[in-house]
Symmetry: C2
Subunit: 236 residues, 2 copies
């Protein structure tokens, strides 16, 4: 079985199409992306098995998806904590933070301590626009994600993985294999190396866009904003 | 049993709070409101019982909620048709329309003909900011909603009802009693006169806002963006 994937370049182009010809705002897309992330966590981490969720957010859109997910998780009954050390000055991200603060969701600057008091971690650090080196303060965070026994759900990419070439052969992400991955809009090529449970989110792609980027959109069930990709798919 | 309601004035103030201190954008709020409307339709109108949904949209925010709901319904597998005779020039509404057009969702100018080819109607004509007279071309539409045997789901208010005083004693809406109502954020006083199935949507209200406006937020289950209010509630 093979699942078609979307290169980093095409993922960026697709996002631009969604916002130009598709007429979506980034607010809408991020809301729906974050909602789908929250649904994956809900499925993998039932409230009864521990409701503390540590959401590690990077400086870009991937981090924004994490911020939205955290808000929805709070409304489901979880207790999210946010680690967001490189906060964007962008107005949207600042609003997403305010939305969390009005719910009294705590922000921490100490990832290692927060890790000791959580049940599940959302890795929303780097997404499809990541390339190159992992910059401070994230190397130690990615090492901790690699070494923890707690379940980790990565958003769009296991952070530090190369979007095209997958797991790095050196550096903090060497050997990092999260438990779950939610690919947004379409799996990226790195999915070939991913061994955990794989979900797809982003139930807003039009047939035209799917055709243009040669995507296969699997069947979402009912009202779900996510669909699990069968084991063996996601491999090239 | 009584359920606390929100006056038209307070509903307007609450929306302003959500967008000022709450830091939500209208894009986000409308996305979540429309999503909750789509979930009500999904529950009341299973795909197997007829998938054609006529969404009647008014010129304001209520219409915008309908436009968003239609998009989600399409993704669930429904065939929405949009009646939107007084289209706002506001950029957000234009974008919501474009999002529908990229899915090839048809727009009709002939409500009466469309009514003959649908299974369920969403009344997203007027919301909590409605007062006074029903203007053209909506009187005949509201008469049709009153007289149809098809199920009608109203968004926030049965259109033409007075937000505080409920069903009008004259005019096209006299005797209009939709099958279902989804109140957004909180029921409005008109809910006292509503006899059908009553849902609440808007799973984004913070405890502070609930306290400020003296709202009782019922318990949403699981991932649902809606909660049905028990029979007898919604009555003052």
């Amino acid at each position: 079985m093979s699942l078609k994937t979307l290169s980093a370049k095409n993922a960026s182009e697709l996002d631009k199409d969604l916002m130009s010809s598709g007429a979506f705002s980034i607010d809408q897309l991020m809301e729906l992306a974050g909602l789908s992330v929250s649904q994956v966590v809900y499925h993998l981490q039932p409230l009864s098995k521990g409701n503390r969720i540590l959401v590690a957010c990077g400086p870009g859109n991937n981090g924004g998806d994490g911020l939205v997910a955290a808000r929805h998780l709070w409304h489901y009954g979880y207790k999210p904590t946010i680690y967001y050390p490189k906060q964007s000055k962008n107005e949207l991200y600042q609003r997403l933070c305010t939305q969390l603060k009005t719910l009294d969701i705590p922000f921490t600057e100490d990832f290692q301590s927060a890790l000791k008091e959580t049940d599940h971690i959302v890795d929303a650090i780097f997404g499809f626009s990541f390339s190159g080196e992992v910059r401070e303060p994230f190397p130690a965070v990615i090492e901790a994600l690699r070494d923890t026994k707690l379940p980790v759900t990565s958003v769009d990419a296991p952070s530090s993985w190369d979007i095209e070439d997958g797991p790095p052969s050196s550096g903090p992400g060497k050997g990092f294999q999260p438990d779950a991955l939610i690919s947004l809009t379409a799996p990226k090529p790195l999915a070939k190396w991913f061994k955990g449970r794989h979900f797809l989110g982003g139930r807003f792609v039009s047939p035209q866009i799917a055709q243009k980027y040669d995507l296969e959109i699997p069947k979402y069930e009912g009202l779900s904003q996510i669909v699990e990709l069968p084991s063996g798919e996601g491999k090239l």
